[in-house]
């Protein structure tokens, strides 16, 4: 496709449920980032992949959050035992080059609501 796509666009989960959020990057993009955007805030970094390697997961807020990109393309962000504070928009961004300074192209996000 022409841009970064994310699915689902909206997800409602009951507290304690597990969720999986998918990101399809622009073809050929090496770097992939996940961000969390709470209401009224800017995006906050969660994790960074270069191809299939997760080089930085320092932004993941707890061990309930897990991300993978097994074949260096599609990525999944999984949240286990969701809590109300996990409610946010989860953004995926990709860039063509290795490293983190290249222009990042953002997907539409997944809005997660935890009841």
């Amino acid at each position: 496709g022409a841009g970064v796509s994310q699915s689902p666009r909206y997800k409602v989960a009951k507290r304690g449920q597990d969720v999986a959020l998918r990101c399809d990057p622009i073809s050929g993009h090496v770097s992939l980032f996940w961000y969390q955007q709470a209401l009224g805030q800017g995006p906050e970094f969660l994790t960074y992949f270069q191809n299939e390697a997760q080089l930085d997961k320092s932004g993941l807020p707890s061990d309930r959050f897990f991300a993978e990109r097994p074949e260096g393309s599609v990525s999944t962000l999984k949240i286990q035992r969701t809590q109300q504070e996990d409610s946010a928009v989860y953004l995926c961004a990709t860039s063509y080059q290795r490293g983190r300074t290249d222009t990042q192209y953002f997907g539409p996000g997944t809005r997660l609501t935890v009841l």
């Binding site: 009224g40 805030q41 800017g42 995006p43 930085d56 983190r100 222009t103 192209y105 953002f106 539409p108």
Partner: protein, 112 residues
């Protein structure tokens, strides 16, 4: 920790007015600076960026930003706004943390 401040949370302008949105960052070393825009119902997209060289950077749709190192600032400007500029604008900085740090955003509303 590195931080980015956007002082204007909500700006309301009439068409043809001039725009300046403030952005200040906390780190004094080498930085890469970005402005992203999110139009209603659309993705975040890059407006302009500064890596090095001329501190006055021109972006898409007539926007420009000036990097002033001594003031740790990267303010966004446009001489004459249009209704279609209604959007949320985010300043972002890449520096020593090795992460892109975003400000809280400025919501711009332009009325015809």
């Amino acid at each position: 920790a590195q931080s980015v401040s956007q002082h204007n949370h909500h700006v309301i302008l009439s068409e043809a007015a001039s725009l300046e949105l403030g952005c200040n960052y906390s780190y004094g070393g080498t930085v890469n600076l970005f402005w992203y825009v999110q139009y209603p119902g659309q993705h975040l997209q890059l407006l302009l960026k500064y890596f090095s060289g001329d501190p006055l950077v021109k972006g898409i749709k007539g926007f420009e930003a000036e990097f002033i190192k001594s003031k740790f600032s990267f303010n966004l400007r446009k001489p004459s706004v249009q209704w279609s500029d209604t959007a949320e604008y985010f300043c972002a900085v890449y520096g020593y943390t090795d992460k892109l740090i975003f400000g809280t955003g400025t919501r711009l509303q332009v009325f015809p």
